[in-house]
């Protein structure tokens, strides 16, 4: 008789690796043989995790279609046995998997659609924080603005895509036919965050993306304005920087501001 530990290890190998050693510990029922009965667990493992992936990567599923998604799910489940208590974490390696797996990496839009879906899912139940309000900024004396630094909302996450993954995602979300996948002439910056209870994303122009990244790193507003001037030209640089900042406040992607010495 196997110890409980040996039995559980054998049972797990039976599910993950198709090893039949466990069958010696199991009895046929009056109506069914043991292999078929153990198969209920084998089938359930793959089916349940495929369902988790389909829930978490809804637009990737729509893009690949049922058969393509099933092929992806089978490969991913075999490559990444679940090692977290929450099924929600199971798909966290999907973007990287699609990027490197030989069966999928010839279509770079797949990993990028998945990255966007994962970032949105992470933002959905990420940390809460009250957004920075315009009234707070309005209360700061104009001469102090150059010293202002900003804290992004804790759910804010920056991505860069090289394909039109964002357009594909948007079309699929609206249940429209997605555009043909293509490489973009320039990489595209995307900001993902949660506004109230809704996870959102927005594409950023290269100047705005540069300023966001610097602001998120704690660079003060005076320096941000100088960087914008260098990036896109001095004329109207302060106005452009102030407009970007107002947009971020309006869309609630910032959580706080502080005055640096």
């Amino acid at each position: 008789m196997s110890s409980l530990k040996d039995l559980q290890e054998s049972f797990q190998r039976g599910i993950l690796a198709g090893d039949d050693t466990i069958l010696a510990e199991i009895k046929d029922s009056a109506k069914e043989d043991r292999k078929m009965l153990f198969g209920v667990y084998r089938h359930a493992y793959v089916a349940r995790l495929a369902e988790v992936l389909a829930d978490d990567y809804e637009q990737l599923h729509a893009y690949l279609g049922d058969a393509g998604f099933a092929r992806f799910a089978k490969s991913y489940i075999a490559a990444h046995p679940s090692d977290r208590k929450s099924a929600r974490d199971f798909g966290r390696h999907v973007p990287e998997f699609l990027k490197v797996d030989a069966g999928f990496n010839k279509h770079p839009e797949l990993a990028e659609i998945a990255s966007l879906e994962k970032a949105l899912a992470d933002a959905f139940d990420g940390l809460d924080a009250a957004p920075l309000k315009l009234a707070r900024l309005a209360g700061i004396a104009p001469e102090l603005w150059t010293k202002l630094a900003f804290t992004p909302h804790p759910t804010a996450h920056r991505l860069t895509v090289t394909t039109n993954a964002a357009d594909i995602w948007t079309a699929l979300r609206e249940e429209a036919a997605p555009p043909q996948a293509r490489l973009l002439p320039e990489p595209q910056a995307i900001l993902v965050w949660r506004q109230d209870v809704t996870a959102r994303f927005r594409t950023l122009g290269s100047e705005e993306a540069m300023m966001w990244d610097e602001a998120a790193a704690g660079t003060r507003f005076g320096v941000l304005c100088e960087m914008v001037a260098t990036f896109g030209g001095e004329e109207g640089a302060d106005f452009r920087a102030a407009t970007y900042l107002k947009d971020w406040v309006d869309m609630e992607s910032l959580a706080d501001c502080r005055l640096l010495p």
């Binding site: 530990k5 349940r48 929600r88 139940d125 209870v197």
Partner: protein, 284 residues
């Protein structure tokens, strides 16, 4: 761990995100909700906001699926710490999980896997329940699972095993009526023997659910309405155990809330027929 038996809460439903707005904007005839612990072990956002609102309005119990109480791998302290934090937030009437294991060596198979009914497994589970109860500072409630295989090494019946765990570890039981029906069919035992084999004073909750019939076996899928045979067993359970907090458990093919409330009314009707409306009302 001296603590009075939790109160009879009446007739509840599993809280599902599809129903958040219907619950909060209406007043469905639901006495309490069961929340899936793992779904709320998150940092923020809508799930926790909805949870807080539900907790303000209804009694809530917590139900987990990954405690893995019977696993031979060490207890997951990180999971228990997060569970304890959620308990502090929710203040549930009780906390339940399943008498099963979900994986070893850090793997989670996301299934409620069966235990051989041996002395060795019994000692192991009793010890683990005691550890978890000490950590949480409160009693656990354990649920019998549906199973599809019988181990040759089992030395006792499932209900003997379940009863021994409850009595020795001093925990409560969640009597899943559907799981008893499913396992009785799959293994050819009498559901009535199970029903009469567990200690009445330990049972604090019933689950009632639907399943998928595959002729040679039944799979516990929670994706169908409750069938007549399970309602019959529920009737017998109410007659035997008396007023026990009852919940309809639906995890897939989730219908509009009204449909589940209707099923819940059916349970209420059965309990009322069996116990008499005054006794049921007095228990609530």
């Amino acid at each position: 761990m001296a603590a009075a038996k939790p109160p009879f809460l009446g007739f509840g439903l599993g809280l599902r995100p599809q129903h958040y707005s219907e619950i909060l904007n209406g007043s469905p005839a639901v006495d309490w909700f069961e929340v899936l612990s793992e779904n709320y072990m998150v940092e923020g956002g809508q799930p926790l906001r909805m949870l807080d609102k539900i907790c303000e309005r209804y009694p809530v119990v917590m139900h987990g699926v990954s405690l893995s109480i019977a696993s031979t791998s060490p207890l997951d302290l990180d999971y228990l710490t997060r569970l304890k934090a959620l308990v502090a937030r929710v203040n549930p009437k009780w906390i339940s999980d399943h008498l099963c294991w979900t994986g070893v060596h850090g793997v989670n198979l996301h299934d409620l896997l069966p235990v051989p009914y041996t002395r060795e497994a019994l000692d192991h589970v009793v010890d683990r329940v005691s550890q978890v109860q000490d950590f949480l500072g409160r009693r656990l409630t354990l649920e019998n699972v549906s199973s599809y295989v019988t181990f040759g090494q089992s030395e006792m019946t499932e209900w003997e095993f379940v009863s021994e765990v409850a009595n020795r570890a001093d925990c409560w039981l969640l009597f899943d009526v559907n799981n008893v029906y499913v396992s009785a069919y799959n293994h050819g035992f009498s559901a009535d023997d199970f029903l009469h084999g567990v200690p009445r004073d330990r049972v604090v909750q019933f689950h009632v659910a639907g399943h998928s019939h595959e002729e040679s076996h039944i799979v516990d899928t929670h994706d169908h309405p409750v069938c007549d045979e399970v309602w019959d067993l529920y009737r017998a359970a109410v007659a035997h155990f008396g007023p026990v907090s009852t919940m309809i458990e639906r995890d897939d093919n989730i219908p509009p809330l009204a449909e589940l409330v209707e099923e819940l009314d059916h349970a209420r009707g059965i309990a009322s027929e069996v116990l008499g409306a005054p006794q049921l009302a007095a228990a609530e």
